[in-house]
Amino acid sequence: MTTDQKTAPARAKGETLLEIRNLQIEGQSDDVWHPIVRGVDLTLHRGEVLGLIGESGAGKSTIGLAAMGYARPGCRISSGSIVFDGIDLMKADLEIKRKLWGSRIAYVAQSAAAAFNPAHPILEQTIETGVREGMRNRAEAIADAKQLYGRLRLPDPDKIGYRYPHQVSGGQLQRAMTAMAMACRPDLIVFDEPTTALDVTTQVEVLAAIRDIVEQFHTAAIYITHDLAVVAQMADRIKVLRYGKEVEQAPTREMLTHPKEDYTKSLWAVRELENPPRAGKEIILSIDHVTASYGNSVTVLDDVTVKVPRGRTVAVVGESGSGKSTLARVITGLLPPSKGQVTFEGKPLPPALKQRTKDSLRRIQMIYQMADTAMNPRHRVSDLIGRPAELYLGLKGRAREKRVIELLNLIELDESFYDRLPAELSGGQKQRVCIARALAAEPDLIICDEVTSALDQIVQEGILKLLLRLQSELNVSYLFITHDIATVRAIADEIVVMYQGKVVQQGLKNEVLQPPHPAYTELLLSSVPEMDPDWLNNLLAKRAAKPISGIKRADA
């Protein structure tokens, strides 16, 4: 895509709307206050969109709420100044802030499903503030809300408002919540990770709708996200945060092309990890025409055939509900298939876990998405890694201890981790220990179920590099389940694209990623946000010119 294209209308920036100086926020745990935000400055002009970006624990949501003069229970704004349009929110009493909230400053929460009241129809909640504050009468407010639904490209805008939140899909709810925020035409909207919980193909629609409406009404916005590519589409200016402090701030294009700080550069660099695909020779795992379902209900896997070569990585890509995790359950024996056969090393695997031998259990290991829940919080690292070595290979006492330390070194951790509990490890270290636990069984195949998606980007890169290194040293095969195309680019040799329980496309990585694609692959690949600030515009222009046909979307 071209980068010099200037399709985005330059936003006229007005006077200063919000001015935050030296903001300090503390959180309480166990009766002790500790800092969450340590001295952040922020200036926002009328009509400007500021992207707040950072990893988990950077304090970005806390700052977003503080911009409204609000701190969650258990948090307090300890010092600094927050001035919104001449009103000092630090000193203003609750009644003054209450009059601002919903009317002049609005908030869009991460999970719309949880933030809508289940007891009232969407429309009632949309017009609530405007009618209460006497800005419009009820009829006008309803007409306006319907119009907003239309602008946000919600289906059937005249009727959708009469539905209850649980009757509407996640992507639609997120747009309805934007309509609710926009209902009083506020000066400022705080978007708190509004698309994080959505699938990529749904995300595109929501991003486009949010961006257009913010532009149309010339609303200032703080857009909070951990996704660089998303913020590149949405923001005029980006502020990078880390550990509650500002790393740097610059206009979006400048930030993307010329990041100054090392931390920012490292964030940007993650996207560049890529290894060339290698074709496999000997097939180690073969899934043939497998059909599976939970109970007697809908078929989750429909005639799926996948082959995994020895020493290679096969990435299974798809959105939620595509059946990719079910595939893992079939291979491991947790869900016996109703039809089809799984063959491992040339021998058929018994369908159910209980019928499998200890040796076949040893040879297929699994690593999970959430390292937190994959490790028993009451077991020490020595037991977590030592147990498979003991169970499968009969290592005890000194031999077991030696093996655990060997494995710790293999995953680039030292002996000091030997008797730690999972709570004493960071996110990346936890996932490393999970990898070591899988390796302790000396497996031939490791199923990696979204192993990097819960991690911050820099940590992700470390884990992916480790996995690649281990593969070259140990010649182990990976079946890599993910929804993230960047991860696939980084690690896969072969790609399997799944959609609604079926395999849409499979082949070597460079073949699958090269156009022309089948319709769904096209939709999926094109929906993945890129760092180019013009990506969304180009994509929308392209889709308007040539709509992708043949995909029926539940969330359209």
């Binding site: 919903g102 009317s103 609005a106 289940p118 007891a119």
Partner: protein, 326 residues
């Protein structure tokens, strides 16, 4: 079918099944009696003739299934059988039906329970909601410690303390609640003040804590924070956003505590010598008068089940997900 109706019917069906199984369990009680039970009841008058007569009266000569249906059909029509106390040595042939024993006492117990509930339920809900609002305030902490203390007290301790201070040291109230069928209504209230007060103290503590927990749980929902961040005034957040979602937990709290009340009366009735069904049951257990025990147990169990059923149905019909299906 409408999902609300379907769920309610399902729940009612389940309630019926539970009632049936409970009645079977209570009925089986008599089956488990040791063989020489007739002798034990009849005492010295136990000749082979009287034993045979006793077994005929009780129906022990018929098959269990047949007896169960005879019993349950009688129960449905208000006939709980004949009390053992009128049989054999003691009664000398003067039979007393269980129903005639229970009827006046059931009235007394219901009187006491309603008297308590009318005071306790509104008081507990108000206190609970206040404590939830002023969470972590001095008020909340004091109330929390006080209710925790009250909950920990055995009912008879509370009862005797109240009796000691409010009837004996300061003779304000009647120390004993011995009412008869002809006691005038006002005097009835006066005499049952202390028992009602005892029960109220115990129930309010329980119910208040549960109300507080339910409200706090509700107020932690993201949609309440959202309502707050939409500039909704506090009172409206409660009335418009919290309350419509609170019926289910509140109904559960009330049902739980009314059910608790039903059981709590047993001890309190004994302390104040109040002629209610609880005291009757205790006396009958001591005398091993099984038909009366069965009848009392059945009445308590049915009340308990019906109260919980009512709470469940309220939860179902106020659930927006069921009211407005996809």
């Amino acid at each position: 079918m409408n999902p609300v109706l379907r769920t309610v019917l399902q729940r009612l069906g389940l309630g019926l099944v539970t009632l049936f199984v409970v009645s079977v369990i209570i009925f089986i009680g008599i089956e488990l009696l040791p063989g020489d039970f007739a002798k034990a009841i009849l005492g010295q008058a136990a000749t082979p003739d009287t034993v045979a007569a006793f077994q005929r009266t009780v129906g022990l000569d018929k098959a269990p299934v047949e007896r169960y249906f005879a019993w349950i059909l009688g129960v449905i029509q208000g006939d709980f059988g004949v009390s053992f106390s009128g049989l054999g040595a003691l009664g000398g042939g003067q039979e007393r039906t269980v129903a005639s024993l229970i009827a006046p006492r059931l009235y007394n117990t219901l009187f006491l329970a309603s008297f308590t509930a009318i005071i306790a339920v509104p008081l507990a809900l108000t206190l609970g909601i206040l404590a939830a609002f002023y969470r972590n305030s001095v008020f909340d902490r004091v109330v929390n410690s006080l209710t925790l203390t009250t909950i920990s007290f055995p009912e008879f301790f509370v009862a005797y303390i109240l009796m000691y201070f409010l009837a004996i040291k300061l003779p304000i109230f009647y120390s004993l609640a011995n009412v008869g069928a002809d006691t005038p209504l006002l005097e009835r209230f006066a005499r049952t003040t202390l028992p009602a007060m005892t029960l109220t103290l115990v129930i309010v503590a329980h119910m208040m804590r549960m109300t507080r927990a339910a409200i706090i749980n509700l107020l932690a929902s993201p949609y309440i924070e959202m309502a707050y961040l939409k500039g909704t005034p506090r009172m409206q957040v409660i009335l418009r956003h919290a309350l419509p979602n609170a019926w289910a937990p509140i109904a559960t709290v009330i049902a739980f505590n009314l059910a608790y009340l039903v059981v709590g009366v047993v001890v309190v009735e004994v302390v104040y010598v109040y002629p209610g069904i609880g005291q009757l049951m205790v006396d009958s257990v001591s005398a091993r008068d099984i038909p009366v025990v069965q009848a009392c147990a059945l009445i308590f169990a049915v009340t308990y089940i019906l109260l919980n059923l009512a709470a469940d149905i309220i939860s179902i019909v106020t659930n927006p997900r069921l009211l407005h299906p996809r």
